[in-house]
Symmetry: D2
Subunit: 432 residues, 4 copies
């Protein structure tokens, strides 16, 4: 069923240098229109508004996850480790390549507003009538289900799942390196080749030879730095807030019967929650940006202001609030209302630690949606331990958080109405 290419093909990649494609199935998947659509979805959402280099797409990240997975498996095969189930190679590679194929434009923000889930869309794209489904079915009738099961973490062999979904999986390894490269920071750089070399398949899991502990520590420290310096950057958070406000406002208006000068069908269906896979595949960042450009001329002032802000990068300012108690927030809200602002859209408290991210979380938490397999060390006596039991530094940073409450708001109205603002708030907003 598995067809090697007559000649291996390569993609030039700035992170991995070359990405090697050796199977016809992988080649065909890359050439489907659903996979090509990932070129129009940025990997880091709105981060390009903070780090101008971060314009890379999920297309390149998906190739990268595939390539790391290929390298891991190739190491397992080269060393002939008996605990690696050789027959799982193709399903692993396909799942690695496709794991993000259901991402929509600015996914994280969009998912919060419309309660969609990119993983579900990934599975629909794999299982319903698409070019991807056709390519997968040419391997075998059940193959699409198998690939989807890996992505949904229900695949019977957990070792396959853990390749693309664990505390140190191909997905995370690629995005740290890639996001570091494109933003231009060196925080996210770790020694990938060394980590790949110390991975071992062992009793249904992927473990790390103990001699590689320092390399894993370095990976986790890189992760820590990336979160606080890139992913949680307050300017990025500000742009995400505006993005969510736009969608909330558009939904509110649509539901309220407002007639848009231009409302493209896929976005309408998104708002109505009636999207099909075919609609979803038409949702890309080009469409969203085009809609925002059009909407910045809509008659609704809130919508058009928000859209102009996003397109022209006139973002909300923020202040740090040590203790955002209700009294203070009410005072601010009242003040904002008194000068014609709309607190529902013009102020938002953000606490980055709400995000389902952390540097490292070894243990399963009750009720958590997707716990990720922890990082396990294999010592010379073939005993396994969770890394924070061995590494002081990992124990130290596990559970650390440095989050702060930020209040986001448009600064211009405050400046214009400075005489109407109480002195206590002036000080908070640094308006003196």
């Amino acid at each position: 069923m598995k067809q090697p290419l007559t000649e291996e093909k390569v993609f030039k990649d700035p992170v991995h240098n070359y990405i090697y494609v050796q199977d016809q199935t992988i080649w065909d998947l890359i050439n489907t229109k659903e996979f090509q659509r990932l070129r129009r979805i940025r990997q880091l959402g709105t981060s390009y508004l903070t780090f101008h280099g971060a314009e890379h797409s999920r297309f390149s990240h998906s190739l990268g996850v595939y390539e790391i997975t290929r390298k891991i498996i190739s190491q397992f095969e080269r060393n002939g480790y008996p605990d690696w189930p050789a027959e799982e190679k193709l399903v692993s590679l396909c799942a690695a390549l496709l794991h993000d194929v259901g991402h929509g434009p600015f996914s994280h923000s969009l998912e919060e507003v419309f309660d969609t889930d990119h993983e579900q869309w990934t599975c629909k794209i794999i299982l319903e009538d698409t070019e991807i489904n056709r390519v997968l079915r040419s391997v075998s009738e059940q193959f699409p289900e198998q690939v989807a099961a890996v992505i949904q973490k229900t695949y019977p062999k957990p070792i396959v799942v853990s390749l693309i979904s664990s505390q140190m999986d191909a997905d995370r390894m690629d995005y740290l390196l890639r996001d570091a490269y494109f933003t231009g920071v060196n925080y996210g750089t770790f020694d990938l080749e060394r980590i790949l070399r110390v991975l071992r398949p062992y009793k249904g899991k992927i473990v790390v030879k103990e001699s590689g502990m320092h390399a894993v520590e370095h990976y986790l420290m890189s992760r820590y730095q990336m979160y606080w310096q890139i992913y949680f950057h307050p300017v990025t958070r500000s742009s995400e807030i505006i993005l969510r406000q736009i969608f909330r406002r558009a939904q509110e208006l649509y539901v309220g019967g407002y007639v848009f000068d231009w409302m493209p069908t896929p976005i309408m269906r998104l708002i109505q929650n009636t999207m099909t896979v075919q609609d979803y595949l038409k949702l890309d960042e080009a469409l969203v940006q085009t809609a925002f450009t059009q909407w910045s001329e809509e008659s609704d002032l809130i919508l058009n202001d928000l859209c102009s802000r996003f397109m022209n990068r006139q973002l909300y300012k923020y202040i740090t609030i040590d203790n955002p108690d209700e009294a203070l927030l009410n005072e601010i809200s009242d003040c904002f209302s008194s000068i014609g602002m709309n607190p529902e859209y013009h102020m938002e408290i953000d606490y980055p630690f709400d995000l389902p991210y952390d540097v490292y979380r070894p243990d399963k938490k009750e009720g958590e949606k997707k716990e990720k397999a922890p990082i396990l060390l294999l010592d010379g006596q073939d005993e396994i331990s969770e890394i924070s039991a061995k590494s002081d530094i990992v124990r130290s940073i596990t559970g650390l958080h440095q989050g702060q409450y930020h209040l986001y708001y448009p600064e211009e109205p405050l400046k214009k109405n400075i005489h109407s603002i109480p002195d206590s708030l002036k000080k908070i907003f640094k308006l003196d």
Copy 2:
């Protein structure tokens, strides 16, 4: 008039590490909506379809050109060279930052079809009623004209013009380094710091200390490699051909009265050749991609096929033709027609050397639109010579060209109608 910022600001940049902004004017220009629009115009047009990393925008390139210019001037100031006119700093920096602000989506392709000129649009954006114009006018009433004159190469002091427009200007230095970084190749890397160190202002020109000759040779060799490996890559050429076909077809249909399901106003005005600056500023790659997505459902089969091809990266194939004589082309054209293809859209001869590019061209050619100042060496006796007089290697590569004729065409119809194709053509198209 010139206002230093109270605290210098930086942009994190993968190529220059940091980009330093020290003047209020530069800061304000970057924050105009016309400049922010460059985030939606890719630096390398369709090259991302060949090199998936090449998703970087003209926004980041423009910052880079500004930064290199700032570094050159800062070196001139630090060394107190008397031949550098210190009062020209701000106009130089603004021109460097803004020199590409008139670029439209996929400029090179679009300009060929609609005969527009991004340089003219740059000047209009600087001179007409825009946020950029307002910022520039706050320096002085004539300042917008001055900046535009530098970009049009009519500024009275040629040394200012040559900073951003010569055979080794800030523009070229940035794009070689940047395009190399984002595609991931190392061909375009040269020692920028060394080149900056050997530049000297001298009698109204910028010259290179002779000891820097090898660094310049290296820069020109990098250039050579980038042209043949990146800029003229046949897959990129294929996507540019399809892009031009789409615009040609859309224009043909529009002129012929065809009614589009969706025709956004800025594109309509482009086709009608009635664009104002405000229309032009709405043209970005998001809009073009959105139009193509919509048009891939138009009833015109040629248009919808071309648009699907572009969006899903189903590009034309190509063959190399040593001697594309009329007889052969006619034979191919007849054959294509005979199996229902439209030679006007389904075949195109391309010869990359037609492009107004070359590695190095020291001398002015009759009738050439924009000759670029050559690279001049300054020796120990304060004598100046054009680099190819001193460097054997530059003399060797000047005027070299390795272009080949390629014929681009859709492969699928040929395969489907293989029995109707004469054997001689089968061989040419490698269909046996």
Copy 3:
């Protein structure tokens, strides 16, 4: 007194790209024979036996410390910070350049055996009759004393001292980056340019703008990784142990009246503790290696074995011992003696944490020889706090140590006499 060079000179450097020399004094110091001697002293002692790239010398590191200091001061000058005493530039640069000039061959090992102190030698070289002293005196009669005072940390302006001696000084910043580059690891890489940008002279100290806290965290994490992965590497420790044994044995033999076939005068004076500056300057790693080559043919078997081991990299093996109690060590010692080994030379317990290194140590300890100034953050309200008060991650790693006891020994005699070794020890030495 301070003479700028007519044309700035550069050294090509792999870490800083170029090192800029702008003063005649600096140029002359580099060209003294005492400074050139640093080319024959490796920066990382015996680490090249573990990481073959680590062959770089103290010459290149010294240039690097100078360059970082120059960049810090240049930033202070460019921004015109009033708290920076401008007149201290030259003394700072000279101290930075010369701070390591008294290092001998394999300094750390040699200092332990002979109780010398490279800092004292640095001061002697600066103050006694040397080419360096002559260059410094040409600035002013007291200038050599001033430079020496900075290095001895007794200079009246602590801000000058802290440039080259604090928890985040030019010395540490250069060696982390340089050692990372030459070993080829990426652990030691941090964002130097950003750290330089957030340093501020403030009330006699150098502090860090609070917005740079994450960059400092990254620097400290890099430090942590470098210590555990490079500086404390057990193979390097093994070679240092052998080196110390060689010197101890040579001293023991010399004191006991043994006549060496070859005993170069500078090493003899070192053993006799009668070295003058002129003797000391003849001590370099070429001489030490040549002596070892000669001594590997001496009749004393212990000396010649140790020298052969060092030159041919036949190092001692090591085992990790969780709890090196006296009983166990006595048992091992007895066993070693029983098979003809000499426990005084053939076994050594090592605990890397004995070294006067740590990742970060904010507070002064009673009786400690050289406490280093802690890292201070300056917040928006001009208040200063020690970094571990603000950064959870720094607090977590401060005081962490992961040291283990290692026992080093030659493995060959154990293997040869395996039948005479008790089973309990066989297990410990993995001889079964």
Copy 4:
């Protein structure tokens, strides 16, 4: 006979990231004392006096040549190319590792003076009674001869020879990358991974797939830059001249019966031309530098001046001479004599192009000692052509030379005796 290691071992390498050792034989060879001696021989001779980073040894280069050879063969094996003789792997790897094992200290200079030949010493070390010979013989009795034959280019299978000796062999590829890394220049960087990917074994030769032509061009351009900017750097040439003068003077003195305070046996044997392999193996750069330090106190003024110059980097100056005719050289020589200089030691004409180097030389020259196999392209029709037949740029740079005559001399005596120097020479030596 070939024994895989139970676990593959790695060396951390800055150029290749990791070097993989998979055979016991390779591991054992690296651990011989003859191979470890390469740590005391610098890869670039005296270049560290020009580029301070260039302190890397032939040990690291030899590992690098091995690693590139391993990668080439591994690619051939992975693709199962029938033209690669699989049984030649171990001999190829051993020859790659050992090809430089006979290099002495500052080889190129030393070979010119004493007419030794490092390749002959390499073969002696492989074939006579050494640890290396023992390791090789454990593979098979003839194995040492086989390895030596590859190095002497007499091995019956030319494809094996060409791996380590051709116009684009593992040796050249490693040293370009390595020397670029350690000097810190980026001229020598080319896309190794791509070149490795396009190599093919073909009818007893290694050829390049035509699609890799641009990558080869880039490699040759890198070579060109490295030669002119690094290998032929006039400061390096100056230090080589002094080195040769030292050896010439020591020989002249020795032959004339001068009694040295210290003359180490291996150097004495070198001068006498009576060296055995055991003597030769004691020759390393530590010994040479130690001798020079001692000799800088010898009573012969020429020798002690030359040695001080070398150790303290007080090199000869140089001037460029367009046309070094006899009349001029005689005039200079007479002038030098008249002020007490010794023209035999104090002036030397150098023309870098005399060296047996060039960027690319496709054809065999009559009487040339070692012609290297040219670079061959393999096109789609399985036809082979020499690269300069296809590549304009290679044709252009083949045979280019930019050499200039330089005259080297000590500047101090000229300055001291300036009044005795004729005006015409003053001008030439820039003494006015």
